[in-house]
């Protein structure tokens, strides 16, 4: 019994990406027991794309969205996740891209190129699939952080406009989800779970998060 070189490389890749279970994200599990791992996040957002696929612009290829979400964070396998508030500048993007390339390079050439292309598509966020995927990938931690009363946001001084900006890809890729994300943020601000920015923000289309000041639960800034 033997294993072809091609299949051997594929199994080697699958064994290697096990490392993604060791990388922690900033977001806590609902209830706050610990932080979630990147692997757990990747599962959660792929499932979220399935469940919320009906809100995506018609004609969008949901299979490609799910594939992208399963591998979108493989670049974190060596560099770790970005700190909240850490700008994903050119230097960091370069580093993640290098890590992703190294990981995908373990696959047979044709397949490595294909998956690296999907990874890149997600990074660039230009296609409807990538925009939807990016929005869903940020919606999940947003919901968890609301459930955890804003733990990450207050720890890092992150305001509602910043979070809204992160899910902005949904505005065209899935307008109803975009509206829902804004509604969740608005309610979070009203409950004092997240701060509104110091300056009023005019969201495009005039229906963004309004710069209403949330009641603070005795929290100081």
């Amino acid at each position: 019994l033997t294993i072809s070189e091609r299949l051997g490389d594929q199994l080697g890749f699958l064994l290697d990406v096990d490392r993604l279970k060791l990388i922690e994200r900033e977001t806590s599990l609902v209830g706050g027991a610990r932080r979630e791992t990147v692997a757990e996040h990747s599962w959660h957002v792929a499932l979220a794309a399935l469940v919320l696929g009906e809100y995506a612009t018609a004609g969008l290829d949901l299979g490609r969205v799910v594939a992208m979400l399963l591998l979108h964070d493989l670049g974190d396998i060596e560099s770790g996740t970005a700190e909240p508030g850490e700008p994903r500048d050119a230097e960091r993007q370069e580093r993640e891209g290098e890590a992703a390339r190294r990981v995908f390079k373990q696959l047979p050439g044709d397949q490595g190129v294909l998956l690296m292309r999907l990874w890149r598509e997600y990074e660039e966020g230009a296609t409807p699939e990538a925009a939807f995927a990016r929005g869903v990938a940020r919606l999940q931690p947003m919901l968890a952080t609301v459930a955890n009363e804003g733990d990450v946001w207050s720890r890092h001084g992150i305001t509602a406009d910043r979070v809204a900006e992160e899910v902005q890809g949904l505005e065209t890729a899935a307008p109803q989800l975009w509206q829902a994300a804004l509604a969740v943020l608005e309610q979070a601000a009203e409950s004092g779970i997240i701060e509104m920015p110091p300056q009023p923000v005019e969201a495009e289309g005039g229906d963004g998060v309004r710069a209403r000041r949330g009641r603070r639960k005795g929290r100081t800034r």
Copy 2:
């Protein structure tokens, strides 16, 4: 800004299934740092299905396979994973089915029925998609356990024939993967990582794991 009842139910479901990150499986991470969570396993096997999809019998719907794998363990959310060697008897299957039903019931009716049907399809294993999904779901922990020198297997006295039986769905759904799984097991047995069963086993097709006795690395049973 409001959220429709339908979308609210879907977001509630997505928040609730966060609990899958708290359920541990028996399989250790590669390197043995800790056990993997069910959410991590679900991510890993969905990605494995993408990477290994080319070995599936022609005409198989890979999108359905990935969807199944993303939700196949949602029945564990309340009952926990089965102990290795624990028979998945009618009583346990009933319990998992009940848990899955409760979880999916949080979704809008039509969608809950659809996803429960996928969950059930995986459980029954009768379609090519389900057979492939089940095989891939067992291949991943098999590879991790080989990398960890058989930790789970020796802890629970699990022999090679039992593991081969678990991935048997691959025999028709992806013959090359089935051959590869047998090759991995055979080599593991030769290295003393897993025990062969006391009695020779004739696998169907005459090409199963041969009942050759592996060298034991000074391990007693």
